[in-house]
């Protein structure tokens, strides 16, 4: 005999699938970011080309998640936590899609500067990519597991990425003053670093959604704006 123990078994299953999907999309973005930074450092044009082209799959995943969310909102009449979760899922998916664009942008920068000699070692860029993707990984884990403590802690790590960006920016500016002929190339590298700095900022937005789903409080987490002070120090 069929016994119904959970009155929303089907809906809960669909919500769990959405969580799996957002984790898959997150992995795609993490991989693209790490590959793009690595391709820049190792001058691997093939790898950069692959990241550039594969962004379409991230975009496709985003559209699928958005479509599934809208479908559930339309058909399941979500309330309270459920509606907060689905609204946040739409937001998180959008954030990930933009992060995918950042990775694609970094790949594009490699494709532009290609074999031109580097103006500066790009160690910071790889470090920034590693830190930002680690933050993203933790933030998505916190989002699907309703882990408020982690969601509140992750934005603090944004300072590490900001600090790396500031260092990198400072050194490149000095180099540009020394050798004005490298300004174009150096500028491209600054853009790559800026993309990663923005990515870490967007991780904070994901943490804000985790807080919203679990508390109903929609608030901006005050993030450090140190990167704005570059050049003023």
């Amino acid at each position: 005999m069929t016994r119904i123990t959970n009155t929303r078994e089907t809906f809960d299953r669909q919500l769990r699938k959405l969580k799996d999907d957002i984790l898959v999309m997150g992995s795609m973005v993490e991989q693209a970011t790490l590959d793009a930074a690595k391709a820049l450092k190792t001058r691997d044009t093939k790898a950069a080309q692959r990241v550039y082209e594969d962004d379409q799959w991230i975009n496709q995943k985003h559209l699928q998640i958005e479509n599934d969310c809208v479908m559930l909102i339309a058909t399941q009449q979500p309330m309270a936590r459920d509606v907060r979760f689905l609204a946040s899922m739409l937001e998180v998916s959008t954030e990930l899609e933009r992060m995918g664009d950042y990775a694609k942008g970094i790949a594009r920068i490699h494709l532009i500067i290609k074999d031109d000699p580097f103006t500066h070692p790009v160690t910071e860029i790889v470090q920034m990519a590693e830190t930002a993707t680690r933050m993203l990984h933790q933030a998505l884990g916190a989002f699907v597991n309703n882990d408020l403590e982690t969601a509140n802690a992750i934005p603090l790590e944004d300072d590490i990425v900001d600090e790396l960006y500031n260092q990198f920016h400072h050194q490149l500016i000095e180099k540009m003053i020394e050798k004005p002929e490298i300004i174009d190339r150096a500028n491209y590298l600054l853009w790559a670093a800026h993309n990663l700095e923005r990515m870490a900022d967007r991780v904070t937005n994901i943490c804000e959604r985790t807080i919203y789903v679990n508390t109903g409080i929609l608030k901006e987490i005050a993030s450090s704006d140190d990167e704005m002070l570059v050049g003023l120090k």
């Binding site: 009155t7 929303r8 309330m79 309270a80 936590r81 459920d82």
Partner: protein, 274 residues
């Protein structure tokens, strides 16, 4: 059938005050014999707003609604404790005429109950015995339009109200309630017999009516409560095991449906119960 007297009760009339609340329930408990159906309900119903009462079956939603116009007294063995203040006056005071209370606090029931009279008379009857002297045809049309029924019955106003379909009969009852221009309208699952389109029409009508009247609606349709009401009261069983209802949470509808305070409210409105 209620014996509604045309004259107004001085006790009720004299006590209108400037309160923002149409009804204030204070520690209201309702018993059927020795059984406490609902225990210690305190809630303020805002004037000219729509308040919905939601909750699982058997928690006393309709009992509370009926207590707001002393309709429970028609049930043998029912008795109320506590106070229901209407314009600052306890409607259970001995000097208050329950018939007058029921005229000023009207009711639309879950099951349609038209009189065995013509459609026209169903609407006109209450107004007529209340001394309505103006254009009765206009009042009937206006009330039937308000209940989203006019288009279906305007060419057969002299036919019996009982000849209508169940859904039409319910809308006729709504027209009848509107026609006597009450102060407060209590609605007990008024749309449960209506199709989705007629339901939406009634909900739009409720929003219109709320400009002049206070509306309290009991509904099992949570989307309806979310769509139509300004305030929502969630009733649930207490933990005594006696199947006694309590007011679990009461507040702004937007808050209740997006971020309720209590887990039991959350479980109910997200459908995770039972």
């Amino acid at each position: 059938m209620l014996n509604i007297k045309p004259e107004k009760s001085p006790a009720v009339q004299a006590n209108s005050n400037g309160s923002e609340y149409a009804i204030e329930a204070r520690e209201l408990s309702i018993y059927y014999g020795n059984f406490p159906a609902v225990r210690s309900v305190s809630m303020n119903i805002h004037k000219q707003k729509i308040t919905s009462i939601i909750g699982p079956s058997g928690v006393g939603k309709s009992t509370v609604l009926r207590a707001f116009n002393r309709m429970n007294e028609l049930v043998p063995s029912a008795r109320a404790e506590g106070e229901v203040l209407y314009h600052g006056k306890n409607i259970y005071d001995s000097d208050v005429d329950p018939v007058e209370v029921r005229r000023r606090i009207g009711m639309v029931f879950q099951k349609p109950n038209p009189f065995p009279k013509s459609i026209y008379e169903n609407v006109a009857w209450g107004a007529r015995i209340n001394g309505f002297r103006s254009n009765m045809d206009e009042l009937v049309e206006q009330s039937l339009r308000g209940a989203a029924l006019w288009a279906e019955v305007n060419d057969k106003l002299q036919q019996s109200g009982l000849s209508l379909s169940g859904g039409q009969q319910q809308r006729l009852c709504i027209a009848r309630a509107i026609a006597v221009k009450p102060d407060i309208i209590l609605m007990d699952e008024p749309c449960s017999a209506l199709d989705p389109l007629a339901t939406l029409k009634i909900e739009e009508l409720m929003r219109e009516l709320a400009k002049d009247y206070t509306i309290i609606i009991v509904t099992h349709n949570m989307q309806q409560a979310a769509r139509v009401s300004d305030y929502t009261a969630f009733f649930n069983l207490d933990d005594s095991g006696n199947r006694t209802g309590i007011l679990e949470e009461f507040g702004d509808t937007k808050k209740i449906f997006t971020n309720p305070e209590k887990k039991s409210t959350e479980d109910y409105i997200t459908g995770r119960f039972g």
